[in-house]
Structure formats: C-alpha cells, structure tokens
Amino acid sequence: MRRNLNPFLTFLFATLIVLFAGGPVILSAVGSVVPDRIMMDASKGLFSEGLNFETYRYVFTGQLPDSYLAENANRAMISDAARQVPRSLLNSSVIALSSMVLNLLLGAPAAYVFARYVFPAKKLTFMFLILSPLVPAVALVTPIYMMIQALGLVGTQAGIILVHTAKALPFTVLILSVFFRKMPNEIFEAAALDHCSRFQAFWRIALPLALPSVGATGLFAFMLSYSEYMFSMVLSGDAATRPVSVVMAALARNTDVSWSLLNTGIFIAIVPTLVLVVFVWRFVVEGLLSGAVKG
C-alpha cells in the first residue's frame, strides 16, 4: 500500500540532505574561484571581481596567480604541494584500479571455494578472514610496514596496492561468498553431468551469474583504496607514488596554502569521485543488495 507523504516535509528533508551532502562541494567550488583577499574582506561582495580561475591555472601549469606578482607580494609563499593534486589523482586511480583487479582475481575464486566446497579448517579460515578487519588498522602499521620493507616495496605503488588489496579482500570474499552460496545446487549438478570441471563450473557458470555482484564488490574495493590514508601515507615516499588522500592532508595543514588554493585542490580531488558516484553508485548498491538478499 502506498502512503501519501507530506510534500512540504519531503521537500524540507530533501533540501536538508542536499545541503548536507552537496554543501561542502558547493562551498569548495565557490571558494576556489574567489581569492582570499576578496573572501575575507567584508566590504567587498563575494563575486565583486568576477570568477577567478588563477588557482586552477597554478595547479595545472605552475603559473603564479597575478596577485602574487604584485608589489609587496611574497611570490614564493604559495604552496607547491597543491601542484601535486593532478598527479596524485592519477596515482590514486592506478592504485585503486590495481587493488580492485587483484581483489577480484583473488577474492572471487576464494569466495566460490568457501561457498561451495567443504575442506579442512574451512570455518576457522573463513572466520579468521572475516574477523581480521576488526583489528584496528593503526595497530598493524608497524608490522605491515616491516613486511613491505622486507619486500623492498616501501616508496612504491606496488606496496600500497598489496596492502589495499589485503584490506579489501575480507569484504570481497564475504560479499561474494554470500552470493555464490545462494546459487541453486541444481545448476552445478547439471554442469557436473555435462562433464564440467570445478574450474569450468566457476568460470563458465558461477562467475557470469554473479557478474553484478562481482562488479559492485570491485567498485567497493576501488573506493576503499581511493580513500585510504594511513598506509598510503606511511608507504608512499614521494610525489611520484603519493595518492590524493595524502596530498589533501598535506594541503590542509601547510600554512602557505591559501584558502582558495586549498578549495581548488579539494574541488579537483572531488570531481572524479563525484563522477564515479553519479555513474556507478546505483550499480554498486543494487549489486551488493542482490548479493545480500537473493534466494
């Protein structure tokens, strides 16, 4: 039965949600095109000098905003950390995509085996895998750093990818195993009668049927990796490997980053995430839900 909702309350709550979710994005967009000297001057209107895209020009080309060339301006007091943002977006994308692919390559077969086969210590290993994210990440920083150091991967993207893969793998296995477990036995019995091997049953039957969930789980792994900060910070050595989460932390804490420059960095960093959310979020949610409730 469909109940009628009060249109005023619906509008009010929808507006609040939009403001809460979109407010910071709008503020950063506005802040990025208004120089600090205008923004902090109560006597001037916010757009009294029009929109100013000089901070964007600086981030992408290194050309100083005109105000920094004026007399008595300190030309060097502008943070070069902001110029790392475009490169860091690329780094984050490479790391997150690699982590996603590795997660699916390792997680999907593992989830299938956990879901469909009986083997010694199955319950114990599954519980170990699933409960491992409960260990606070900060407690693992030192041992994981030492392992990555022993592998000679500190300061490389490969080191960060390995750790991000390990962090997302329990979720991948859990979500996909739920889906694989709910597939009817009859399909696999029929496949066995047709002389399908175990791998063929996984590759030709289970995986195609689970594709929406596999895609959604992959995107989940992508987002976990894209937003991760602590291990990225410890394991990335320089701008060549540093992901966007670490660059943003540096931008927010350096005194030579003006508000407009900080907002520019934030907005540039937000855009790919926004695009991702707009295009694939529904796919993620539907995929995850289908894995959770399909019977």
Partner: protein, 426 residues
C-alpha cells in the same frame, strides 16, 4: 704470445669494467623531510648534486603531523635513511635510542665547532644532546606575540607590554564591539600548543625546571602557573576565540575580527603577504608581554643518522650534504629566509642585505633580531615528548575552565617526576 695478448686484453676489459662500475656506483643519500615547500627542497638538492658529482640525493617526505612516527618506523625497520629533518623536541630521544649520530663523527675535525660559533644560543642548545652537536639549523624561529597595528591605533590602545595590558586592551576592544580580540591556536594534538604556552611564560621570566630538571611550575608563584591562570581568565571573560591550526589563524586575523595572537614568527610573513591577505601590512610583532620579554626559540635541523655514520663513505657524503644545506656561506638558509620567510639560526644572516630587504616587507627586522637574541630554548629530554603529550590535554582543559590550574600543574609535575625516575632507572 697469443695467450699473453689475450690475457692483457682480458685484464684491460676487466679494469675498464671495474672503473665503469666504480663510476656507476654513485652514492644515493636518502633524505627524509616533512613536506613543506618540496619544490625548493628539490631545487636545493639539485644544486648540491651539481656541485658534488658522485652523490645523488633521494627526497622522501611525510606530512608534518605524521613525520616523527613515520621516521621512527623507518629507523626501527632499518629502511635506508641518511639525512633527516630533526626537531628539538625529538633530538634527545633519538640520540638516546642511537638513531642519530653526532656531527663530529662524520665531519672533518674542527668543522662543527667552527660553524657552531655562528649559531644563535637557543638554536645551538636545541641541536645539542649530551654536549654533542647533532644537527645544523634548517630553520630556527621564535614564537611571537602578533598584533594588528591598525586596530590598536584606531582604538587608541598602546602596544601591550605585560599580559595585564593585553587583558585591558582586549576588554576595551570587546567593549567597542569586537567579540573575541584574541585568537588562539588551541589544539592539544600539536606540540606547539605547549610551546606557545612556554613562550608566554618566558615573557614573564618563568623558569619551568631547575638545573636538575625538577619541575617548578606547580608553585603558584611561578610565572608559568600565573600565565596559565591568565589564559584561563581570558577564556572565562570571553576574550579568546580558539582556532585549531595556524593556517586558520591567518584568515581569522585577516577578517579584522581579532587584534592579538601568539604564533610562530613565520606566520607573520603569511599574515602580511599582499598576494592573498586583505589586511596585509597591518600586522606586527611586539616583544612577548611580561617583565622579561623573552620568548621560546627553537631550531629544526639537518641531522645525520647513525646508519649513515656507520658507513664512512655514506657518512662523508651525508656531511657534505648537511654542510651544503646549513653551512657557510649559508646560501640555502638565506634562500629559505628570503623566499619563504623562514627564520634561521645562523646569526650572520641578520646582517645580510638581501635578508633585511626581504623581511622588511613583512616585519621589523631589528625587532626580530632583538627577539631572537632574547629567546630561550625549551627544556627537552628523552621523555619530554611523552610528557608533553600527557600534559597538553591537561593544559587544554585548564585553559577553558574544565580543570583547575592548581590541579593541572600538580598533575603535570607529578607525571614529569615519574618519567624522570623511570628513564633514570632504565
């Protein structure tokens, strides 16, 4: 004959190969920094490499709040690390742990003593542990009392000389409509939260510890005790607005809604930067209020690790690098001062024309020099970082009236004594 020729040719080829290898095997120093102005760092490194063929430098950087933890992780895991940025508050602990090496273990005889003669007293104290110099200043600065000249002039208020003057000025401004005349960096997570408190207490002439490192500040007659009470009173009167970081104090002061703040001196350069601050030029530093007008000085430094010093070739290269970055003729220190407004520990630079011209845009250079001369170093031990992390939350509570000044100082002194005993018995 033919065998001899073959043997000679083989020997020649082997020699050429060996020489080739020797040439190819440049030393690559691992230089670890916090990520302030990386372009300038990289450019300085490039100049060093050009001047020192055979030595390469790889720069690794971490964000400032995560720097110490990341570095300790590198030390403990044996990650190759040769030269680092050191901080005065970490130096004793790193020295005691054997992570870092005295500079005279890698420098030619007499070189460190010669450079030390030019270093300001507080900066030299900060780079010294157990009478050994462990670093040369990357930058050295003081904590300053900064005010808005225009606001004070318009209100007919003279520059405060004591903390009681600051209260009177702030109350007058508040009565005139300024809601919070003082903006204060209030963040117990930051080590400089404690440093700013010490700087204010030094203005009054406080001694926080005696020569045997016994705490003195729990005595109600101690000037540090009085200063904490002053801050708590200022908060209770509604004179103070908190901001969590100096980067937020810069725009806050530039709104014209505040007249006073206490921050690192380099913040004055940002406050007065005409490029992006609407009230640039309105800000000045005054001697730290109090009867003594002293303040806290501190030095960040280039430090050579024990790992590098253990290998004579790396140690020698590391010294060359440190000497290039902080030694005579102080080109790199001068560059930081002129381009970025960073303070320095090398006293001859106060007479440098380029420095005076550059700093004259945002500060009274003579006042800065006087402040540096009057500045005192803090008290740093192997356990002071641990203690500071314990004491800062107590300070924070006392400032906003959530704990009494008496109990805070008592608890702080007790914890200091506990740590002192623990470390003495290790």
């Amino acid at each position: 004959m033919r065998m001899k020729t073959l043997f000679a040719a083989g020997l020649l080829a082997f020699s050429a190969f060996t020489v080739q290898r020797a040439v190819a095997e440049d030393i690559t120093l691992e230089f670890v920094v916090w990520n302030y102005s990386l372009d300038t760092i990289q450019d300085n490194v490039k100049k060093f490499e050009e001047a020192n063929p055979g030595i390469k430098v790889k720069v690794t950087d971490y964000t400032w709040p995560d720097y110490q933890d990341s570095l300790v992780l590198r030390f403990r895991s044996g990650t190759t690390t040769d030269v680092i940025y050191g901080g005065q508050d970490w130096l004793p602990a790193w020295g005691a742990a054997g992570f870092i090496a005295p500079l005279d273990s890698v420098a030619p005889a007499g070189a460190v003593e010669d450079l030390a003669k030019d270093i300001a007293g507080f900066a030299l104290t900060d780079v010294t542990y157990k009478d050994k110099v462990y670093g040369l200043p990357y930058y050295a600065d003081t904590i300053s009392f900064i005010y808005n000249k225009k606001i004070l002039t318009d209100a007919g208020i003279p520059v405060p000389q004591t903390w009681e003057d600051v209260t009177a000025a702030a109350e007058k401004l508040k009565a005139g409509g300024m809601e919070h005349p003082i903006v204060y960096e209030y963040n117990q997570e930051l080590p400089n939260f404690y440093d700013a408190f010490v700087a204010q207490a030094y203005g009054r002439g406080a001694e926080l510890f005696d020569k045997d490192l016994n705490p003195l500040f729990a005595d109600p007659n101690n000037e540090a005790y009085k200063q904490l009470q002053w801050i708590a009173d200022a908060y209770s009167k509604g004179l103070v607005q908190s901001e969590t970081h100096e980067s937020k104090i810069i725009p806050a002061m530039n709104t014209g809604a505040h007249a006073f703040t206490i921050v690192y001196t380099y913040v004055l350069a940002a406050l007065n930067n005409a490029a992006d601050q609407p009230r640039a030029g309105e800000f000045a530093l005054a001697p730290m209020p109090g009867s003594k007008h002293s303040t806290l000085g501190f030095a960040k430094s280039y430090v050579v690790t024990a790992q590098a010093a253990a290998d004579p070739a790396r140690g020698e290269a590391a010294w060359k690098f440190v000497n290039f970055m902080a030694g005579k003729p102080y080109t790199v220190a001068k560059r930081w001062a002129v381009e970025k407004g960073l303070g320095f520990g090398q006293l001859p630079l106060f007479q440098d024309k380029d420095v005076i011209d550059a700093w004259g845009k945002w500060a009274d250079v003579k006042a800065l020099g006087d402040q540096a001369a009057a500045a005192k170093a803090g008290t740093y031990t192997e356990y002071s970082s641990v203690w500071s992390a314990y004491f800062r939350p107590l300070l924070a509570k006392a400032m906003v009236g959530e704990a009494s000044v008496e109990q805070t100082m008592k608890d702080g002194a007790e914890r200091w004594n506990q740590l002192k005993e623990q470390f003495a018995n290790r």
